[in-house]
Symmetry: C2
Subunit: 193 residues, 2 copies
DNA sequence: GTCTATAAACGGATAGAC
DNA sequence: GTCTATCCGTTTATAGAC
């Protein structure tokens, strides 16, 4: 597979890049974007600033790459769960997969938040809610129900609810996020939303 | 009223502080915490960096003060709306007041987000959801209903839903946030949640 | 009360050796 | 591929004049 550098990568180069994405995700998640300097990234990876900049053209490019990798992992996991469920159960599967995946990856959550607020503030919100809205519409269809509520608002509330549940379980590992996810599922299944 | 500086403030000093809180809120909301230097704050206020640091001991203290002012304005407005409503209607009043207040103050929203992620990452989430949980419990009591769902999770989902609605209306002023708020209200009134 | 001037450190990024 | 060395801009904060 060709890479972003326009040629094939050696194995060691590939390994370095993966390592840099790892340490960047960890540092940005734990200390924030602003507090994560190239120097700290280099130190954590065991090389120098210049060494880091050989693999990625800039700090921003590196952080964006780390962000993209975290995001693609999420959409892959959730997508698989949704596909495994039938259309009628897709919304429930989505909620459970999102909460389940993110709750187990606190650093991924913080990485996403940090990247959204510090490097990609213009992330298109529609990309997220419209996917959920489609799931709800398909589920209604599969169950031969006529929806009463606005799909966009329903999808937004579901997304916000998921975020709040995940965020809470990050701060309090004792919190039963799975039960909270079921609460959200029950609301969706009962028609509102 | 005694001030944080331990003595009474002159009128001009009070005015300067208020002006600095204003410009700081504006700059942090528009450009983010990291991109808001003391130099830019000073320039916007028409004084110098050293002048700013006479009024506030550090950049962080200034931003925290601006954050606190925005927050207290929010809790005052929402608190008044909740108090004006009866206990039975308090949850609905809370949702409407939150969405209404924040939708009209995009910069306050961004200021709060920026401060939460960059200067006060350890904000106690319980302070927010427990207040909402209390409102729901009191409303159930006033309506002689027995709640079935976990109050904490219900409060979290409501809060997350409000955040998502407000955030969406920030990015798309055409979006009918008031209607979305009514959707959330109807969910609460119908028992779940 | 606000300024000038400056300290002292840190940031990202580049050039070129090896 | 990674390093050393360095540049240059920017940052917060302080000292002391006015």
């Amino acid at each position: 597979m060709p890479s972003a550098r326009g040629r094939n990568l050696t194995f060691t180069e590939e390994a370095r890049r993966a390592q840099l994405l790892d340490v960047t995700t960890e540092l940005v998640a734990d200390h924030g974007y602003a507090a994560t300097s190239l120097g700290r990234i280099a130190e954590s990876a065991g090389i120098t600033k210049a060494g880091v900049l050989y693999h990625f053209p800039s700090k921003q490019a590196l952080v964006e790459a780390a962000h993209a990798r975290v995001l693609s992992e999420l959409v892959e996991a959730v997508g698989a769960a949704v596909d495994a469920a039938g259309p009628a159960d897709a919304p429930a599967a989505y909620i459970r997969a999102m909460v389940g995946h993110l709750r187990e990856r606190p650093r991924h959550v913080r990485m996403i938040v940090e990247a959204m607020t510090s490097v990609a503030p213009l992330t298109d919100s529609k990309a997220r809610w419209s996917a959920v809205a489609d799931l709800i519409a398909a589920a209604r269809d599969a169950r031969r129900l006529t929806g009463e509520v606005d799909l966009r608002s329903a999808a937004l509330v579901i997304g916000g609810g998921i975020d709040a549940i995940v965020s809470e379980s990050l701060g309090d590992p004792e919190y039963d996020a799975a039960a909270a996810a079921e609460l959200l599922v029950s609301v969706v299944e009962r028609g509102l939303l």
